[in-house]
């Protein structure tokens, strides 16, 4: 349906009482993200979309009304960095594998999805790991679960993938620098930062030549001369998309000098980059701002644990916000737990971020980074009806996500016995597949990370 027609219909629905809303949440405190917080108001949903948001009571008719007195409603949360779904991206054969798609590895029945919904997450960038300079393409998913459908209505990855206007699955490209992708005597893997950057630059230069061949195959009238096209190369295709601005680089990076290296490469090859984790981001905030890069930061309860993360601070998002950098927080699930994702944003406030910035950091700003903000991230009429019902203020430790709705369907309900098990954990709630996650698995099974022996952890098989 053309979007202008949809708009007309939505407008009509709101004035004609005969076409009732499917679902209305009333008497809630509403944090729409777009616009001011509403002390007591309603959200009306029709056909999986938000029909209206307002203060006071809802005057129209509704098939179902949910009284949310004392509750807080805000958009479903957007996580820009997660590893749920038992993922596995690039393998050990080489350090740069942009042709690999994480989408081809995901178990949609993994318990991690239920836990994510328990935390209020509805849109997620699922990424391969950081053990490679590029471990492959990420995938943007919508947790389109419906508690009333068998298997929650999700059968394959296609059911939860975001598609763009051309019907192509949406996602970025995972890249990493610093110690995770480095190996001692690692064969094709770099052993130093200098070699890591050399390998990345070499590959991008190769991709630039590939792009030039693609360009040369286009005739003056815009048609393509197939005889001039190069043989398809999946790695180079992905990098060419990155350089054409069609695919965002999601770049794992911790130390201040590694962050600057990413900015240098982004400038040389002209790609859009979201800097992920950025332990030392607080040291180079102005440089990040000047480069126009975006940031997806991690909130870790203490510094250290790995050498390049000794600079981790709760202060980073606030410092970046004040420097003018668009900044979000992420779960990096299972480094932090999706079920308490709001905690990360609250810790950003503890470290100096504004409440406004923290609210956007788990909703709109993340949606913008994933180019899905036309559909999610705010409670705005015509956007998808992805919302969460909270027991109180989103940033209180005593608040829990009571319900999660995705496109108007109830996707999680803490009052349900099974969902409560997912939310709290216990027998039957465990993940049924463990992701390949550099370097946590590696550390726990071999006691080594990136070729470095972590003494005394060799037999720690439990993640204790």
């Amino acid at each position: 349906m053309p979007s202008f027609l949809a708009a007309v219909l939505v407008a009509a629905a709101s004035t004609i009482t005969a076409s009732a809303a499917d679902l209305v949440f009333t008497n809630a405190q509403i944090i729409p993200i777009e616009g001011a917080e509403i002390e007591r108001g309603f959200v009306a949903v029709t056909d999986g979309r938000i029909e209206a948001v307002g203060s006071g009571g809802f005057s129209g008719a509704a098939d179902q009304t949910i009284d949310c007195a004392g509750k807080v409603i805000m958009p479903g949360l957007v996580d820009t960095h997660s590893h749920i779904g038992g993922i596995g991206g690039a393998d050990g054969s080489g350090p740069i594998q942009p042709g690999v798609r994480v989408r081809d590895s995901i178990n949609v029945r993994d318990a991690g999805f239920r836990r994510a919904l328990a935390g209020g997450l509805t849109s997620i960038n699922i990424m391969p790991g950081s053990g490679h300079l590029s471990s492959g393409q990420t995938v943007y998913v919508k947790l389109r679960h419906d508690t009333s459908a068998p298997g929650f209505g999700v059968r394959t990855i296609d059911d939860i993938t975001y598609y763009d206007e051309d019907g192509e699955p949406m996602g970025g490209l995972k890249m990493a620098n610093g110690t995770n992708p480095q190996r001692d005597n690692g064969g094709p893997f770099p052993g130093t930062r200098g070699r890591a950057a050399f390998l990345v630059r070499s590959k991008f230069i190769e991709a630039r030549a590939y792009q030039a061949k693609l360009d040369a195959a286009v005739n003056e009238d815009g048609s393509v001369d197939a005889s001039k096209l190069p043989d398809r190369d999946l790695d180079l295709e992905a990098l060419a998309e990155v350089m054409r601005g069609e695919r965002t680089v999601h770049h794992h990076t911790h130390r201040h000098d590694d962050i600057i290296t990413v900015l240098r490469l982004a400038k040389e090859f002209g790609f859009r980059v979201v800097l992920h984790h950025v332990s030392d981001g607080w040291l180079v905030a102005d440089e990040i701002a000047e480069a126009g890069a975006e940031v997806s930061a991690i909130m870790i309860d203490s510094p250290g644990g790995k050498h390049e993360a000794v600079g981790v601070r709760f202060d980073t998002p606030g410092i970046l916000e004040r420097a003018g950098v668009r900044t979000v927080v992420h779960t990096d699930d299972w480094i932090t737990d999706s079920r308490i994702f709001l905690r990360s944003a609250a810790l950003a406030i503890r470290g100096g971020m504004t409440r406004r910035g923290a609210l956007e950091s788990v909703t709109l700003a993340g949606a913008e980074m994933l180019d899905i903000d036309d559909r999610v991230g705010t409670l705005t009429p015509s956007k998808d009806a992805d919302l969460i019902v909270l027991s109180g203020d989103p940033f209180s430790v005593y608040t829990v996500v009571e319900q999660t709705y995705v496109e108007g369907n109830l996707a999680f309900d803490r009052a349900d016995e099974g969902d409560r098990l997912s939310a709290l954990g216990g027998y039957g709630a465990a993940t049924d597949s463990e992701p390949y996650f550099c370097c946590y698995n590696e550390l726990m099974t071999t006691g080594r990370v990136g070729g470095v022996q972590m003494r005394g952890t060799g037999s720690a098989g439990s993640g204790n």
């Binding site: 644990g305 430790v397 954990g425 993940t431």
Partner: protein
């Protein structure tokens, strides 16, 4: 200025001048150790919270007044700290702080020697690094007492100690230099490649054999003590440590997560009669009634521990289940092999209080008085009462709220920076 700094300054001043001037400076400085804390709400853990409260800490660093501010004037010469909320300094019931350093490299990891399966002779005081920066980091959130030492990972990995989160040497920090012996059941302690233990049953056999050996060693010592004609056994540090366990002078902490491993730990305790403390205990909710009956304390895994491997079935709700069942428990920071390198019990208790539905009071008790009771140091720490150490954590709001700040910490009256002022340094 903390006590150690004060002492060092006095030493250096005395050394330089060797004169009355130095002595006078030290006297004046010592007098300033008298401290008053005014708190909007004081959680003493000795009863209901006190509003508009006052705590006075005398020269010796002990508390000598707790009550309403309106009922007692602050004596002259006292340094006064004001805060919205004060609690006892937090007590971390089980940690590897000071053994598992910030960088997670060979040079700063001493929680586990993996050259042998049974090493009860390893003392904690010989490995504690009082200058590891994560100690100050933990303190800046309110942690003042920590039960720390050798971690899980081998059948018996070594001993533990109890320290204040201060001091330049272990002698300054430790106030119980040897507390318990740490053991592990379950796959964490298993070896591959044909080495033992390779199974649960083998692990139990090895532990039983070692404890039987210690029984024999203890019997020889007892004979020699009662009969001067009999020569005692030759010194054996490992055996002496286990004899202490068998004599119930030293608890045996067994880290066990699966219910079957917890059951094994209880069976072992029944056979040898030692004092059992369960650590981590992810599935303890399945055996809460048995633990209650035995009075076995649980040093419960961090609330936000990752659920995988042996802990796959852990629950945020376990603390609440143990509380409701009447099992003595406290929440540990435990051991982390990766990030975060140290967990902070303030955060772990907060997660139990809120997401885990334990509630504020029981969660705070799990990192103060209940932890102190399990550790047997509640005569000194864990609550705010006259005669106890002047260890106090100060906050600008509910300590568990994510957006609250710890604004200062007192250890025996000496002031340390809260989280916003504490500088861990870089790198």
């Amino acid at each position: 200025m903390n006590k150690a700094e004060h002492r060092n300054l006095c030493r250096s001043v005395g050394g330089m001048l060797r004169a009355v001037v130095g002595a006078a400076l030290c006297v004046a400085s010592a007098a300033s150790a008298q401290v008053a804390v005014k708190a909007g709400t004081l959680h003493t853990m000795e009863g209901e919270p006190i509003t508009d409260a006052l705590v006075l800490i005398g020269e010796g660093g002990q508390i000598d007044y707790v009550g309403k501010a309106s009922e007692r004037a602050i004596p002259e010469g006292y340094t006064t700290h004001e805060c919205a909320v004060a609690t006892p300094g937090l007590v971390d019931v089980r940690s590897t702080l000071g053994f598992t350093g910030l960088y997670n490299v060979d040079a700063d990891q001493d929680q586990l020697d993996d050259s042998a399966r049974l090493q009860p002779g390893l003392r904690a005081i010989d490995a504690y690094n009082p200058r590891d920066r994560l100690i100050g980091y933990s303190r800046s959130f309110g942690v003042t007492t920590v039960h720390t030492g050798h971690g899980p990972g081998e059948l018996i990995s070594g001993q533990t100690m109890i320290a204040k989160t201060r001091g330049d040497t272990v002698e300054d920090a430790a106030f119980v230099p040897a507390k318990a012996v740490a053991a592990t059941l379950g796959p964490r302690a298993h070896k591959g490649g044909g080495k033992s233990p390779g199974s649960r049953a083998k692990a139990m056999e090895m532990l039983r054999a070692e404890l039987l050996k210690a029984q024999a060693h203890g019997a020889k010592i007892a004979r020699a003590e009662s009969d001067p004609e009999t020569e005692g056994p030759s010194r054996d540090l490992a055996m002496e440590s286990l004899v202490s366990v068998l004599n119930r002078e030293t608890p045996l902490i067994i880290a066990a997560d699966r219910a079957q491993d917890i059951a094994n730990a209880m069976r072992l305790a029944d056979e040898f009669g030692f004092t059992l403390w369960l650590e981590s205990a992810a599935e303890s909710y399945l055996l809460a009634d048995q633990l209650k009956e035995r009075g076995t304390p649980v040093l419960l895994h961090p609330t936000m521990a990752r659920s995988w491997g042996e802990r796959a079935s852990l629950s945020y709700n376990t603390a609440k289940v143990l509380k409701d069942a009447g099992v003595p428990f406290a929440i540990e920071s435990g051991y982390e092999g990766y990030v975060p390198k140290v967990r902070v019990v303030l955060f772990e208790a907060a997660a139990a209080a809120g997401y885990g539905e334990l509630g504020f009071g029981d969660a705070l008790a799990a990192v103060t008085i209940e932890a102190a009771k399990i550790l047997g140091v509640d005569g000194r720490v864990g609550s705010i009462a006259v005669g106890k150490d002047g260890d106090i954590a100060m906050y600008n709001a509910d300590p568990f709220e994510y957006t609250t700040h710890c604004v200062g910490v007192l250890i025996e009256g000496d002031h340390f920076a809260g989280e916003r002022e504490f500088d861990i340094g870089y790198p």
